[in-house]
């Protein structure tokens, strides 16, 4: 039973992780990352490290989430489709 809970928690974490780096909407990405942080603290508790859990909740999810939200506020809210590979060639010329 406990093992099942652990497997579910880890699976959830993996799923949220994938989601947070592949969302086209940046805001959603950030929200998912914050959620990831919160579930991670749960995992720390399960692993018997309550102090790490506290730090994760406060810093990992809290501070980082706030920083990310602030940055998103400065940028376009959606990931735009990328231009043609021509720019990649110019990049090589630049390097």
């Amino acid at each position: 039973m406990r093992a099942l809970f652990d497997v579910l928690l880890v699976g959830l974490l993996v799923w949220i992780a994938i989601g947070s780096v592949s969302q086209r909407k940046l805001f959603k990405s950030v929200v998912m990352f914050t959620a990831f942080g919160l579930f991670l603290s749960l995992a720390w508790v399960r692993l018997g490290s309550p102090d790490v859990a506290l730090a994760e909740a406060a810093i990992g999810a809290g501070v980082t989430g706030a920083l990310l939200l602030d940055a998103v506020g400065h940028m376009r809210s959606r990931v735009t489709p990328y231009p043609s590979p021509a720019s990649a060639e110019r990049r090589d010329a630049d390097a």
């Binding site: 406990r2 093992a3 652990d6 780096v21 990352f33 490290s49 810093i59 980082t64 920083l67 735009t80």
Partner: protein
Amino acid sequence: MSTYLIYAVGGALIFSIGTYALLAQRHIMHKVIGANIMGSGIFMVLIALGKRTPDGVTDPVPQAMVLTGIVVTVALTALGLSIAKRYYTLTGLDDLDQDPPACDGR
């Protein structure tokens, strides 16, 4: 299946997801989040392996390492985001692979 092994394997998976995002995603925010996820994966591996002591007592050293790691990662994230914001303001770009309009510089 013991607890630590579940988390260790999960940590390794999460690490790979983060690595993939850092290397393959082009949006700067996705890269930053990817790096953070990478870190979390490693922390999970660390803590999980720290649990694997013969007498079942939690080893404090990995916890200290993780706490340090969290703080350092936040610092890196803050720096990365401030660079990203500035870059976006200057060029309107959120992708490092695209050339900025003009490269000036002394």
